[in-house]
């Protein structure tokens, strides 16, 4: 297959997926924050909390639709651009996608309309249940898509079937409870919660700086800081869990992220800084922190973490083993039922390495004819580009820790300093609004780029996965999607800013009524002139 087709398909997937993930994290987190606010409203009956629910709900809605719009493409582009991938692993990969639709998309999409249109048609408790169902639906969809993605990182519960020339599921349980998938799920939704918390915090800080909507802003900061602190801690802890699972599942990715060329004596040091160099196969000017890598990766002091050079040697061995599997497969395909049992046995023995033989398809049609030089080259192909991974990962981690610091600070001010915030802190909160998006995009970059050259780790090379399209097809859709998304993104930002500037819709009648009742309860009287009351703000 032409390589530029594969590169263009990758670029298109990267663009559409990363655009999609501009909207998803906010949806994940804001759906929960809004539901929390509405819960407080239903429990206390105070109209300010209803106002908050509606205000943040409006922003949630503006963001949500673009998540839906960009998500549509995601559901279909595996088939459009990654036809052989879809054939080869659809038996496993398709199931979580379909269940996601059945279990999660229906839930969120059916109730999101009622959330906006149902205020007058439902009781308070009913509406609250609707809000929580929307939040549940969005979070469940993350679960299933990460089960699918987790399988691409760490394919378990499946085996190659020579009759159908594809991977087939052997255990749905293993696919569902894949450790990599579970760690990724909690890490990803926590990242979404942090994103939404930083967003709510930043917008509220802006109101406080402008002395507008102070009541709403103060309360929003209190909720966002508490929720954000828990989430920011969880994102880092579970990111560490991802690192731990990666040390078993994706050794090469881990070594590349670390820029670790040779196996070090356990416990390995963590490279805090340095310049990885693919040509010299060395990380220049490296600054090491002793022991840390061994602790994160293996949670022990005596287990080695293999370096890139050692892993490449392993890859070369697996390519040779894969060639044996490939050879047996060709015989099986020719003889079908009449295949000698010895050949079947050889195949079974080596079939786990079949994908490694496919790495050679970049260089020649028949992997069995490969020279030693070609095998060596293909083995080095299993190393993803080290420097971009090394840096992306470090920036992401740095941002992750900074979110913890920010949330601790605001949590402390909101709970122990009577919700007073110095102006420099408020300005900082506004300034960091884009940071969680940067961290999330970098995280996905590390996860997906770090898996290269595979679409499914060790099973199917990316170069083999793409559809047989033409440059014309891809150029048109790539330009089309990017232009289209960019225009929609600009429109979305415009509306977001418009509604943030506009602020919450004040429900004066409801506020007055509530204040009236509240005061009359306290005073033991039913008469309270409305005019003398200041509304909640």
């Amino acid at each position: 297959m032409e390589l530029n087709i594969v590169e263009l398909s990758r670029l298109q997937f990267a663009m559409t997926a990363m655009y999609h993930f501009l909207f998803v994290p906010l949806t994940l987190g804001l759906s929960i924050l809004v539901a929390i606010m509405e819960t407080v409203y239903v429990m206390t009956g105070r109209p300010i909390w209803r106002q908050m629910t509606k205000f943040w709900g409006t922003l949630f809605g503006i963001n949500f639709v673009l998540g839906v719009a960009t998500g549509l493409t995601m559901e279909f582009q595996f088939g459009m651009n990654w036809s052989y991938y879809s054939h080869y692993v659809g038996d496993i990969f398709g199931a979580p996608l379909a269940i996601e639709g059945l279990m999660a998309f229906f839930l969120e999409a059916t109730f999101v309309g009622l959330f906006f249109f149902g205020w007058d048609k439902l009781s308070r408790v009913q509406h609250l249940v609707v809000a929580w169902l929307v939040a549940l639906g969005t979070n469940l969809s993350a679960l299933w898509i990460l089960i699918a993605n987790g399988w691409m990182q760490h394919p378990v519960g499946a085996v190659f079937n020579p009759d159908t020339m594809r991977m087939e599921m052997t255990s749905f349980y293993d696919v569902m409870f894949n450790t990599v998938a579970q760690a990724k799920f909690v890490h990803t939704v926590s990242a979404g919660y942090v994103t939404a918390s930083v967003f709510v915090l930043g917008v509220s800080a802006w109101y406080l700086l402008k002395h507008r909507h102070v009541e709403l802003a103060r309360r929003s900061i209190t909720v966002a800081a508490a929720f954000g602190l828990a989430s920011a801690l969880s994102v880092v802890v579970l990111g560490d869990e991802s690192g731990y699972t990666a040390s078993h599942a994706q050794k090469m990715k881990l070594a590349a992220i670390e820029g670790m060329w040779n196996t070090e004596k356990a416990p390995a040091a963590f490279t805090a800084f340095g310049f990885p160099d693919m040509k010299d196969r060395e990380t220049h000017y490296a600054v090491h922190v002793p022991f840390v890598m061994g602790l994160i990766g293996t949670r022990s002091l005596d287990i080695d973490i293999p370096g890139i050079n050692q892993l490449v040697k392993e890859s070369a061995d697996r390519i040779r083993s894969g060639i044996k599997a490939y050879d047996a497969l060709m015989t099986i395909r020719q003889d079908k039922a009449a295949t000698p049992p010895a050949v079947r046995q050889t195949f079974e023995q080596h079939s786990a390495d079949l994908g490694y033989a496919f790495l050679l398809k970049r260089y020649l049609d028949d992997p069995r004819q490969a020279s030693d030089a070609q095998i060596e080259k293909a083995a080095w192909d299993t190393v993803p580009a080290v420097a971009p991974l090394f840096w992306s990962f470090r920036i992401m981690v740095l941002l992750g820790f900074s979110f913890i610091a920010v949330m601790i600070y605001f949590f402390w001010r909101s709970n122990f300093r009577r919700q007073t915030y110095p102006r420099w802190a408020l300005r900082a909160a506004v300034a960091i609004i884009p940071a969680p998006w940067i961290a999330a995009e970098l995280g996905w970059f590390v996860a997906e780029f770090g898996r290269q050259p595979w679409t499914v780790d060790g099973i199917l090379p990316t170069a083999l996965s793409a559809s047989h399209l033409s440059v014309g097809d891809l150029a048109l859709t790539l330009v089309g999607f990017v232009t289209f998304y960019s225009v929609l993104f600009v429109i979305e930002m415009g509306l977001m800013l418009k509604y943030i500037r506009k602020g919450p819709v004040q429900d004066v009648a409801a506020t007055d009524e509530w204040m009236n009742r509240h005061h009359s309860r306290l005073a033991g009287t039913h008469v309270m002139p409305t005019a003398s009351l200041t509304p909640a703000e």
Partner: protein, 387 residues
């Protein structure tokens, strides 16, 4: 004894062929009227208030309806991976057009009334029109092409390869028969949208929808009959020429097939399937009658029957073919060789049995909460919250 072997492979394959139909029909019955309303927008609603009435008849529920489409994609991926791999890469630019049009809808619905500018609103109205009309047309065009066979072949590795240049592939889809089937689906969803608006909208909008729907209903019927005649006398069918193995491995190249004879052979082999076109025509007739005589809910129900009958006609006529290949009939995908594995089909069946009834229950509840006509007062009274 392994659990999934409780249900034989061929039974699961037929079940998932039926479920594929259920998903397509569910999509056309629910999101079909959303698309119809979009396509009708410029014709049945002239003023801003009228347009908002029309839009808000589907405003709260269209998003859930669209999930039928997304789930359709996911279910094809899970249950019919070769179909997912071959069809979407083959109809590449057509799929791109459908997606681009559908992407306009969520944004159009949500953003349209968030600014007061007339240019802003009329731009989004056109976006909603495109989001309804283009997919409605393309889905029918795709069906017309599937009935004629699609120019792909499978390599021994089961990689699918299409013949022709990229734009040629796209233009090739627009052949006369496919355009006719495109008209069927476009007119059918337009009628469905009109039936929905007479049921759900108030005043002038409903009146105009009734008028448009009575005409488009007749067009649907005429185009459907014409397409049927064309299929009978002008289109060559496909047939499997090797012995049919219903529980073999999912490898299309294990069979042989040819492009000969007529699709209508199916009606000789299984005469009962004639019930599908009969129901389609009955539904179409009664929809037009309902729209003319002032029936509201009844026209919508009959229109659903028309959709059911039409989609069932295509599926039953082609069985066991799902996607025939015009250049290499052996590569054609059929019910017996294009499914996922026995175990995956079983897992998916369990998931469907658990979740589909739950989905149907809460969807019904939501429609009940939102029961009743959308009136001008609903819009002006809640200008901030409605679309």
């Amino acid at each position: 004894m392994i659990l999934y072997e409780l249900v034989p492979y061929d039974v699961l394959r037929v079940l998932w062929w039926v479920l594929l139909g259920v998903l397509l029909i569910g999509f056309a019955m629910t999101d079909g009227f959303d698309m119809g309303v979009g396509a009708l927008l410029p014709f049945v609603a002239k003023t801003d208030l009228e347009r908002r009435i029309a839009i808000n008849t589907v405003g709260p529920t269209w998003e859930g309806n669209q999930v039928w489409f997304i789930l359709g994609g996911g279910a094809i991926f899970a249950a019919w991976p070769p179909l997912y791999a071959v069809s979407f890469s083959g109809f590449y630019l057509a799929m791109f057009a459908v997606l681009a049009a559908l992407i306009l809808r969520p944004v159009g619905f949500k953003y349209r009334s968030k600014r007061d500018s007339a240019t802003w609103r009329s731009s989004w109205d056109w976006a909603l029109f495109v989001g309804g009309a283009v997919p409605a047309l393309i889905f029918g065009v795709a069906v017309g092409n599937v009935l004629q066979g699609v120019p792909f072949h499978l390599t021994p590795d089961l990689m699918s390869i299409y013949d022709g240049s990229w734009y040629g592939k796209f233009l090739g889809l627009l052949n006369p028969f496919a355009i006719l089937t495109g008209v069927v689906s476009f007119a059918m969803l337009l009628t469905h949208g009109a039936a929905w608006l007479t049921f759900k909208a108030d005043g002038t909008v409903a009146k105009r929808a009734r008028a448009v729907g009575s005409v488009s209903g007749l067009v649907t019927m005429g185009a459907y009959l014409l397409a049927g005649l064309w299929l009978a006398f002008g289109i060559t069918g496909y047939r499997v020429t090797s012995a049919i193995v219903t529980d073999g491995p999912s490898n299309p190249l294990y069979k042989t097939a040819d492009h000969a004879g007529s699709w209508l052979v199916a009606y000789a082999d299984r005469p009962w399937i004639v019930v599908a076109p009969v129901l389609a025509l009955l539904g179409m007739t009664m929809t037009v009658r309902g729209l003319r005589n002032g029936g509201e809910g009844s026209a919508l129900l009959w229109s659903k029957l028309a959709i059911f009958g039409t989609i069932a006609t295509v599926g039953l006529t082609m069985f066991p073919f799902i996607l025939p290949s015009s250049v290499d009939p052996q590569s054609s995908l059929t019910v017996w060789d294009a499914s996922s594995s026995h175990q995956t089909l079983f897992v998916m069946t369990v998931a469907t049995v658990i979740f589909l009834p739950i989905v149907l229950c809460y969807t019904a509840w939501v429609y009940r909460v939102l029961w009743g006509k959308v009136t001008a007062d609903d819009i002006t009274g809640h200008s901030e919250t409605v679309y």
